[in-house]
């Protein structure tokens, strides 16, 4: 059987499974549609949350980011897991006790204001739509590679699949489908990692293998990796970071952005009890950590594997790295996986000095220049896109064809499950918060569900369109989504629970101040609405305020939000008595019913 047929079998088989589950768990009421009838077990819910949370970025990109950045990119690992601690302690149990369907529901009721509700809807839609574009693009790339179709066709296939199960299934369908997707993606991620850890260190558990001895050279794996990358003129893999302020703020932005993203929060409305919301956050993090603890091992081992593939003499015990440098492999003798990925354009080779060999090194490092000239090198000849590392991993390690098919199904599951969760958050914000609670309160339950499905279809079309014509800023879009959620929604949610004094004027001013300051800072360096050339300052570290990058500004925006809300609220009247009582009642679990709409 050809690799293409195997891929088709795995991807098609997993789809049949998801769609089957979606049909089996069809939503019958608005409550089923939005919060799965409030009856999902905490472990099940934790697994679904993990699938929801781990997008194409976690599955496909993160190991590549770690491989290229080493220690400096640990921020992604800590940022995307630490947010669950905040969720479990500061938000999830109280929002579950409050017992409504959506995030704007809470903000609208707690701050007794339609304006606050509408501002929250806007923040939610902007954050979710920007995030969903990246998922559609990611799914499109995975489809096009494994089904051998153009990437635009890939995106349309992805849109069709998401449409089928998200629109008909609602939350109930999505929850059980996501459990299946989690299982597919975690198996797909771990199997190749275990094989590679075995090959390199003899230890089958990747997270331990990473810190054990590299069998071929007898040196600890990370020490070996440091030696190899510095020999090629790159930074130490484990080197420390100078700009610690920026590192701290970036991690903080990702953490509170995680806690403020509506499609994650909405998950905690689906468990039966308040105590379950706490357990559920813990289980979600356990399931996420299975992938996140493996990713650094995948990243470091792939980086080492890549270097020793090109410079085979570096693999064993090396007396003199200078000598090993002199003998990279011949282009004609390159392994098959390099050939396959060259076809996609994600690996490129240019023989600058026409010696027929592959030279891979850091040609941007002036300190390495003398060594390169001595060897007769005229520039780096091999460019490898970071995003292919996870997808190419089984091929690099010579694993059988079914593992490659499994990776394809896993990557697509990661992208689709996140897209579906985000679309559900968008559609409930439009049908429930905007139409039912603001524009037309007399709408019937059937009408509301129809509106939810129509807005979901609309959101899919918009995301597909933007995915087909990406404005070319994938990393910034994801950072913007986190920045917006961190700077606008999180502080207001937290103050709504922890302060009885916070009133509607404070909340509205806080949200707007946080949102606008963050957008202003980002647009100053990246261009107005990301249109290239309209930025007012070049995006380089010397221009940043106090060395804070635009991607890290969400944390500062959140602080501005807190400060403005506090100042405005103190200067204006207290919230009404019944609101203060409402705040006190969400603080303890007693009397929590199932989630209700009214």
């Amino acid at each position: 059987m050809s690799q293409f047929a195997i891929n088709l079998l795995f991807v098609g088989g997993s789809f049949a499974l998801y769609i089957g589950i979606a049909i089996w768990a069809r939503a019958g009421s608005t409550k089923d549609f939005y919060v799965a009838g409030g009856g999902v077990h905490p472990v099940t819910n934790g697994m679904a949350t993990a699938a929801d949370w781990m997008s194409a970025a976690s599955f496909i990109s993160m190991a590549g980011l770690l491989a290229s950045g080493g220690y400096a990119n640990s921020t992604f690992l800590m940022g995307w897991t630490g947010g669950y601690v905040i969720l479990a302690m500061l938000l999830a149990p109280y929002l579950r006790k409050f017992g409504k369907f959506t995030v704007p529901d809470f903000i609208g009721d707690r701050f007794y204001s339609k304006t606050a509700r509408v501002v929250a809807v806007i923040c939610l839609i902007v954050a979710s739509v920007t995030y969903v574009i990246g998922q559609m693009t990611g799914a499109g790339v995975a489809f096009s590679r494994f089904l051998e179709v153009p990437s635009s066709t890939g995106i349309w296939i992805a849109a069709g699949i998401v449409f089928l199960y998200a629109v008909f299934g609602g939350m109930k369908g999505i929850t059980y489908t996501q459990v299946a997707q989690y299982i597919v993606l975690i198996i797909a991620y771990t199997i190749p990692a275990v094989f590679i850890a075995m090959q390199l260190t003899g230890n089958p558990i990747p997270m331990f293998g990473m810190f054990s001895t590299h069998t071929e050279s007898g040196v600890p794996l990370l020490a070996k990796l440091d030696e190899v990358v510095t020999a090629l003129g790159f930074r130490d893999y484990t080197a420390d970071v100078d700009n610690k302020l920026n590192m701290v703020l970036f991690t903080l932005s990702l953490m509170i952005g995680t806690a403020g993203l509506p499609h994650v929060i909405i998950r905690f409305f689906t468990v039966p009890k308040v105590a379950d919301a706490r357990w559920s956050a813990g289980w979600a993090l356990v399931f996420i950590a299975l992938l996140y603890l493996t990713a650094p091992a995948v990243g470091s081992m792939a980086r080492l594997n890549l270097a020793t593939t090109i410079f085979p003499e570096m693999a064993g015990q090396v007396e003199d790295y200078q000598e090993a440098l002199a003998n990279p492999i011949l282009y004609e003798e390159r392994p098959d996986w390099i050939r396959t990925w060259e076809d996609t354009g994600l690996i490129t080779f240019t023989d600058h000095n026409n010696d027929g060999r592959i030279q891979m090194y850091n040609d941007a490092n002036p300190g390495f220049q003398p060594i390169a000239s001595e060897l007769g090198w005229e520039g780096n000849e091999l460019t490898v896109n970071n995003d292919i590392l996870v997808l190419a991993n089984p091929e690099i390690a010579n694993l059988p064809g079914w593992v490659i098919g499994l990776i394809a199904a896993g990557g697509i599951a990661a992208a689709l499950s996140t897209a579906a969760g985000l679309l559900l958050a968008i559609s409930s914000a439009i049908s429930h918060d905007l139409i039912k609670n603001t524009i037309n309160p007399s709408i019937s339950e059937k009408g509301e569900m129809l509106a939810a499905r129509i807005s979901m279809a609309g959101a899919i079309l918009l995301a597909t369109y933007l995915g087909l014509n990406p404005p070319g800023f994938a990393a910034q879009v994801v950072a913007l989504a986190f920045g917006i959620a961190a700077a606008s929604l999180f502080p207001v949610l937290m103050m709504g629970i922890f302060s009885t004094r916070m009133n509607s004027k404070g909340a509205i001013c806080g949200m707007l101040a946080g949102l606008l300051s963050t957008l202003l800072y980002i647009f100053t360096y990246l261009g107005w609405f990301f249109i290239p050339g309209t930025n007012m300052l070049a995006n380089v570290e010397s221009n940043w305020l106090f060395g804070i990058s635009p991607l890290s500004f969400g944390a500062v925006g959140a602080m501005i939000n807190f400060a403005v809300a506090y100042a405005v609220s103190s200067a204006t009247e207290e919230p009404p008595q019944e609101i203060q009582e409402l705040v006190e009642s969400v603080r303890y679990p007693k009397g929590a019913g199932a989630a209700t709409g009214h």
Binding site: M78, T81, G82, V85, P220, L222, D226
Partner: protein
């Protein structure tokens, strides 16, 4: 009713104390051990690198999991003690 109010206030105070404690640990492992104090921990070797690197890529995540389960377990006990559970 009045008793209920006092009870609820006590419960909330205990909860906030617990949260504060957990958040200190949360910040200490991630912003402390993994970032700001990494140079201080560089003398402690672990598998080819230093303790700060291990905290950044493994230790902080493991601590986060521990913290959430500890908090959920403690809160369940508080819920029962104050009779405010479901």
């Amino acid at each position: 009713m009045a008793d209920d109010k006092i009870n609820a206030a006590e419960y909330w105070k205990a909860n906030v104390r617990l949260i504060t404690g957990c958040m200190i640990v949360w910040a200490f492992v991630s912003y402390g051990c993994a970032m700001l104090f990494r140079p201080l921990l560089s003398g402690i070797p672990i598998g080819g690198t230093d303790l700060g690197f291990w905290f950044a890529q493994q230790g902080s995540i493991l601590t986060f999991i521990g913290l959430i389960f500890f908090y959920a377990w403690k809160m369940n006990k508080l819920d029962q003690k104050f009779g405010l559970g479901e």
